[in-house]
Symmetry: C2
Subunit: 741 residues, 2 copies
């Protein structure tokens, strides 16, 4: 029996087994609904599902990704207009919220190998006959990193691997500094903006970032157009603004970029890079890397080019010249509102950006068309008399790509109202075939567990929750994850760092947020390249848009359950369990850091490195580090114990209808996880449970005040951060105690 036949047989057997499971599920009440409410809600969701039309979504996808549509482009404006018309036609009160933002575009991009030999980088992506979209490039922004500063530099290259802190420790052991050099880094592992930030901190005068074929090119599989992976000329564009400091318009931190906003001088904007940075293809990187010498890189640094990779410095010497048009453009957020029938002052916000770096079929239109299908269905349901109980706001954000700008400005602009009224924010962005991935506020974990148990995976016929559990059972990276995949009542959702429009909602205002995407079976290298087209997407990412439909089903259910719940579907036991996990991780991290430091220091003192290392090579011993003290985690444990008791007590309340005041206390509980002073050194980030890593970018740091002070060896700050985190948890515990009375 071949795989297809097996799958079919399996699907049939599973689907026939499914009927009973589904009736069982249907018999259960939904979180936040009583029995009658659950039945009505399930009927509504079935009606909703029937209105999701893959062919219509595919038509929208083709239309919206027909041409490049970055912020400031004619097509970007046309898309916003088109979206506004559609939302209006579906019954929404729609406005286009405009912000005046700084958006740099390339004026001069020059990169050449000066010596040895000579080579001028093409910096151009090739049009392909097989993909007509790649020839529609009239408004195309060529490959660049937005918010690189202007500059012309010439220096030797140093290869810095992925350009992360640990990579510089390796370079240091080889006696290599980037001081006065140009760093060349691989894309990947960290968010791209970290690479020039760290290189600049280490003294580099410029940064190149290239896509190694081992990571997303021929090393992974067939390249475009034969397969999905990165064409040799493809370049990942992307913002390098210092988003871990603050996202959004670089000139208006913390306030909406309205025409009359007080703006920083560009020279004072702290989130523009310190050094020029340019992304290049591996075709352009190859002659530069091949001309390098110096120490051979460690095995784990090697890429897929047919050369020996060296660290440098030099002898390859390059000249990089970058100049940008530092122009003000208008970002057009499309905001569509459907007034709640019962609780119009409680807002559920559902967003996805509409701007793309190029044609942007996957990113962001594949997610946007799900949102559109949801909004259209909800509009129809409302017109048929089933308006949501709470107010729904559908948002199509502009200028996400250069730095979450459209959403951030809107959130900053409406901060007061949002703090008052916003119940939750549900985000999507790109989507593709595979497994459901949910990140977000753990108070919504149980809700999402219920939603994902009710949506059927289009390939296997089991729920998307069951399919994810199967995958984690096989591939989970540790025993805990494998065990939880089989046994935990709900799968954990991931804590959110950054990387899409939930950031201002969650991390600046403390609005409970959820981010939803399918993926994992259609990895490729098209991200932010010319090749992220309708043709590529339909051929390789989600043929038939089956997972687009599934996304609409998941996000639509989550939105509608929050909108209609008699008691808002927040709960705290899962949150407590997750915080306990994070605390245990931090304690384990601290212990490992302490024993690792002790071991390394004693090996240095014993001269073991000097004896063991090859004396003909440059690799030396690591530097010794300060000993890691013990920290007082007791207050955090005590706070968690209190929260746990309160959360358990609250379990008895979850199926009881709630007053508006109780619901307000529920949805505003996420606000208690923020502090007005924000995180150390980056006050814009108010949330103290979730934050993007200061040196990882998108990657999340949980309990970031505590964790980052330990990771960055700022041991004097740790106990203070523990107190801040404990107070926060105590305040939340007090709130949950109130809710449990």
């Amino acid at each position: 029996m071949n795989r297809s036949a097996k799958t079919l047989a399996l699907s049939i057997s599973l689907i026939s087994g499914l009927a009973s499971t589904q009736s069982l599920l249907a018999a259960e009440t939904l979180l936040g609904f009583d029995a009658a409410g659950s039945a009505a809600q399930r009927a509504l969701e079935a009606d909703f599902d029937s209105r999701i039309d893959a062919r219509e979504m595919e038509a929208w996808l083709r239309d919206l990704s027909f041409e490049p549509h970055h912020v400031g482009s004619p097509k970007g404006y046309a898309n916003a207009q088109r979206l506004a018309e559609l939302f209006t036609s579906w019954g929404y009160a729609t406005e286009i919220a405009e912000y005046e933002i700084l958006f740099p575009t390339p004026k001069t991009r020059e990169l050449e190998l000066v010596s040895p030999g000579s080579f001028t980088a093409s910096l151009t992506e090739e049009a392909l006959d097989e993909d007509p979209s790649t020839s529609r490039t009239q408004d195309l922004l060529p490959p660049y990193n937005a918010f690189s500063r202007d500059g012309e530099v010439e220096a030797e290259l140093v290869f810095v691997n992925y350009g992360m802190p640990a990579d510089y420790e390796v370079l240091e052991r080889h006696g290599i500094s980037v001081e006065g050099k140009i760093a060349i880094a691989k894309y990947g592992r960290s968010w791209r903006g970290i690479k020039p930030k760290l290189a600049g901190e280490k003294g580099a005068i410029g940064t190149l970032i290239y896509s190694d074929p081992l990571d997303d090119g021929y090393g992974q599989g067939e390249t475009y157009p034969q397969g999905p992976f990165k064409h040799e000329s493809a370049v990942q564009r992307g913002s390098v603004m210092d988003m871990p400091t603050y996202p959004g318009d670089v000139l208006t931190p913390g306030i909406g970029a309205t025409p009359d906003a007080v703006r920083l001088d560009r020279a004072d904007a702290p989130t523009i890079t310190e050094i020029p940075v340019l992304p290049i293809s591996h075709k352009d990187a190859m002659p530069l890397l091949a001309a390098m010498g110096g120490d051979v890189v460690p095995a784990e640094w090697r890429g897929g080019l047919p050369i020996t990779y060296h660290m440098g410095p030099g002898p390859a010497r390059v000249r990089l010249k970058l100049e940008f048009n530092w122009t003000m453009v208008t970002a057009y957020n499309v905001i569509a509102r459907l007034e709640g029938s019962e609780f119009p002052d409680e807002w559920v916000i559902r967003g996805n950006h509409h701007d793309g770096w190029n044609h942007g079929a996957a990113d962001p239109i594949s997610g946007l068309v799900a949102l559109m299908a949801e909004a259209k269905a909800v509009g129809e349901l409302a017109q048929a008399g089933n308006a949501p109980a709470r107010t729904l706001i559908y948002a199509a954000w502009d200028a996400e790509e250069p730095g979450l700008i459209g959403s951030t400005e809107w959130v900053e602009h409406h901060a007061a109202e949002l703090s008052e009224h916003a119940v939750a924010y549900l985000n999507t962005d790109g989507n593709s075939r595979g497994f459901i991935n949910i990140g977000g506020s753990h108070t919504l974990e149980k809700l999402m567990g219920g939603v994902t148990a009710d949506v059927i995976d289009p390939q296997t016929g089991v729920s998307v929750d069951a399919r994810r559990r199967a995958m984690l059972t096989l591939e989970g990276s540790n025993a805990r994850i494998k065990n939880e995949a089989k046994n935990r009542a709900q799968l954990r959702i991931s804590p959110l760092g950054s990387g899409s429009d939930y950031t201002p909602f969650l991390q600046h205002l403390g609005i409970a947020s959820i981010n939803i995407a399918f993926g994992g079976e259609a990895q490729d290298g098209s991200y932010h390249t010319l090749y992220d087209t309708y043709e590529h997407y339909l051929k390789f990412r989600d043929p038939g848009l089956y997972y687009g439909v599934a996304l609409a089903q998941v996000a639509g259910r989550a939105t509608l359950r929050i909108a209609n719940a008699q008691r808002l579907p927040f709960e705290f036991a899962g949150l407590t369990d997750n915080i306990a996990l994070y605390l245990s991780e931090i304690e384990a991290l601290t212990d490992a850091l302490r024993s690792g430091t002790e071991d390394t220091n004693s090996l240095i003192d014993a001269g073991t490195y000097d004896l063991a290392l090859d004396p003909t090579k440059n690799l030396g011993a690591p530097s010794s580090n300060q000993p890691v003290p013990y920290f007082n985690f007791a207050r955090l444990h005590n706070a968690l114990t209190r929260l746990d008791a309160a959360a358990t007590a609250y379990e008895g309340k979850v199926d009881q209808p709630a007053s508006a005041e109780v619901n307000r206390l529920l949805y505003s509980s996420e606000r208690l996880l923020t502090r007005g002073h924000g995180l150390a050194g980056r006050p814009w980030f108010k949330h103290h449970l979730y934050a993007p890593g200061f040196y990882t970018g998108y990657g999340v740091k949980t309990l970031p005040g505590v964790r980052e002070s330990i990771e960055q060896l700022q041991f004097d700050a740790v106990d203070e951060q523990i107190v801040i985190a404990a107070q926060m948890i105590e305040e939340l515990a007090a709130r949950v105690e109130d809710l449990s009375r």
Copy 2:
């Protein structure tokens, strides 16, 4: 301070600290010597050291590796003559022991890509201006695998990674069979002969083996002549005879290949491959691999060529034609004997082969010149009145490369005398800069610990034992190894599998053996290629032959201590500890196999694979396996307990002079680890503690009867093998009890 300055300063401080350590050591008695004997032996060793001359060794290296000198070549014969003259001139009774052996050489080698496209492999290594040796190719054997059978085959290619059992399990999960196909495998991981053996068992009709640049070419570092790593045209030659069944002449298993020996018909020789096999360069492999399709390989299978690696089958279709001259040639073993002054009937044998695949500077001449320096020094000492107490036999073996033939035939020919007289065999082969590596019989572990503590590392000034401990402290692959590196009285020596001339001594006759080499800081890709030349060796492997001198110091000390000891320096506590480790490994392996089988079977039964795997891909669930029963390891534990007690009791005897009878009981104790019936399916291999793996080749399997029956899922055979192993240990325990009385 740069690394060189640091190293110098360190060496000085360590050497100054060393004086006291050395005097401390000198005050200790040597294993097997009383105080007076120890002092005399140390004085002898100091005299010995003073006679080792790096410049003379370098001259021999240049001379012996000047031209290709494989068995049957003019230069091979000339080298044997030259060696015999030298040994004679140093005072040895020297003979050239000749054997008539089957040695196939290439007549026809054709490889072409038939479709898609066309390509004819060059199958030729390029001469380099930078290395004059590479132009001296008159008697060069072109790249081939000795003991491939003749054949002409045409079929699609299947990429089998390293061609090991686990690789075929992956192929099976992809629904791919090599039945009727030609397998293309990477060199590495397993001994090369396993690749065609396993491919043939799986139904392949031919095998290609190529060197991937990720493993020993540009992926590792600069390629020859700029650096040491594999030139793009380089091909690793090598034997593919089924040595795990028996090594040596394929026509005369178990008996010496004398002119009148009874020989098998070639058609009946079981160690010639079932299918034709050819080694190729990555330059020749590239067009073949690039023409392949089918599933993309898993990440861990990827190599360093700039292509997407596919499993096939096909569409690449190749034709392979191989014909060999199946000629009889004479192998010339040079046997040099120095009669013992006190115990002439106790023989200590020290060997290194002299034949090479090409110029063979590293393999084998770098080891041979150390043996020559030792023999010359020992001859001088004897002439000065310090003849060894026991008889020394220095052997320079021929025909090691095609399958340990020279040594095996000599051992088989002289089996009766050797069983009676041989105390120990000490082997070397190639050598290079780095760390001391010792493998062998664990009864000699303590001896070797003492030797390596007394030889100074030329780069750091500490003992070669201390330097290895430092390396293992840093890089040991697990906590036990790291801990032992710091704390174990002697470092463990490695159990021996196969791969050099110790095999017939140890595994066929049960003669305690030791294999010695330095290495680890000069890895390269020259092995068995045209580029294993004097020029390459002196530039990249051991400039100045400092480690050649250190090798002579280690091997010379070990030889002389065995030759002169008042009580032979065998001991049993270390042996017991090592056997206990192997038993614990086998128990852990069994438990892991059992729980892994249970887990996999339950995941299959639960349909988890079918849900988790991508239904659009061919990767399916693994096959379920039979459950792993529990085995009765008790008898082995009980035998070990008895051996442990006896070994502890024997500790009190080690510094007492011994009678000839006691010494005979000591050196013949290794014989007790053999069984006349040999291992299941391969009776030539008599040793039941150490054997080369039947499916790994050179890699050792300890307690092989037990271990391999478990690994190969032959569970019915396990308990019987446990009994055999336990009886063997009980017999040894009884012997040690006798010795302890």
